[in-house]
Symmetry: C2
Subunit: 201 residues, 2 copies
């Protein structure tokens, strides 16, 4: 991610390079071994700096995690733009396609995997329950004008999270290798059903 | 889970009570904080025994985890019996209902949550990828006589895992509080689609 000139040993503390290297190392580490398994010491070692410098720049492990999660894209903007603008009857397809485009981009993947790993670890639940769902997903349902978004969006989230978990974290075949078109064909009708189809009760 | 008579202090090492208490403590701990967050020391403390005794009975943390997972039900038998016997066009409903019945049983929940937590932690992926999917789910598809079970069962697994994750681990409302009938109404058509509906490609 960061370009380090060959032959150059170490990084000047305080340079933008150093901060970026720490964030990149944190992102990779959180994605690989999860929040609980990540230590400041390991991040510092991977970035080639001292642990004290990581603390100095980014505070606690929790602060570092939040900084490392800074996505190149704002999910509210990307999703709202793609999903809300257009026919409501195709919103399921646009939503699946947009999710896959964001996730399949290698620039986004480490931060996204780190985020989902954290959601799935004990203590990380609020990121989804009190964050992504009410802040990002339910408002999209409201802007689409669907009824009962507070039920439909969790139903939808259960399918999208399951797909993401199997494709990117557990790496289950054939889901991990299928191309976006095949996945859209498989999942868009289900997501559309949750958005506008019949509901229980 | 284990009955300890009131007023009795400690447990005789080597008694069946002690072994059961260790397993129950391990199950609760793995479910609560995950595999990575669980230590033999914490399990021993919760069971009121010495850590060496835990090692003596159950070997490594990995061995203890496998022993703690011993489910009161064999998923192959329960699922195969419920899903395979009966009309293929209702198999989706029977599958969702059976999953929920097993998961909603408080006797099963700690071990099941511990298992899914482990699948979702780095290093636990093979339990699902090389275990549950090929050993339990795909054979059910084969016995149902559906085409392409190696694609259909992962699609189905992505929905079932997402529902389980949101309902039991992340505890997202309204999914966490909905009764089985409402969840069957919401999810059976989707699971049925993955079993017998149109496929991409």
């Amino acid at each position: 991610m960061t370009s380090v000139r060959p032959g150059r040993r170490g990084r000047r503390p305080g340079s933008p390079d150093t901060r970026a290297a720490i964030l990149a190392a944190a992102r990779e580490r959180f994605a690989e071994v999860g929040y609980a398994g990540t230590t400041i010491r390991a991040v510092a070692a991977a970035a080639g700096v001292d642990g004290a410098l990581v603390h100095h720049y980014y505070g606690s492990k929790d602060d570092l995690f939040l900084a490392a999660l800074e996505l190149p894209v704002d999910p509210r903007e990307v999703l709202a733009e793609a999903v809300v603008s257009g026919d409501r009857d195709d919103a399921g397809e646009r939503l699946v396609r947009t999710f896959l485009a964001v996730w399949d981009d290698p620039d986004n993947q480490p931060a996204l995997i780190a985020l989902v790993r954290r959601v799935l670890e004990p203590g990380g639940e609020p990121l989804l329950r009190d964050g992504f769902l009410p802040v990002v997903l339910v408002p999209i349902g409201e802007r689409l004008g669907i009824d009962r978004p507070e039920l439909r969006m969790p139903l939808l989230a259960s399918q999208v999270l399951g797909l993401i978990t199997l494709r990117y974290l557990v790496v289950v075949e054939p889901l991990a290798s299928m191309d976006a078109d095949a996945l859209v064909a498989a999942y868009a009708p289900v997501v559309q059903r949750y958005l506008t189809g019949p509901l229980p009760g």
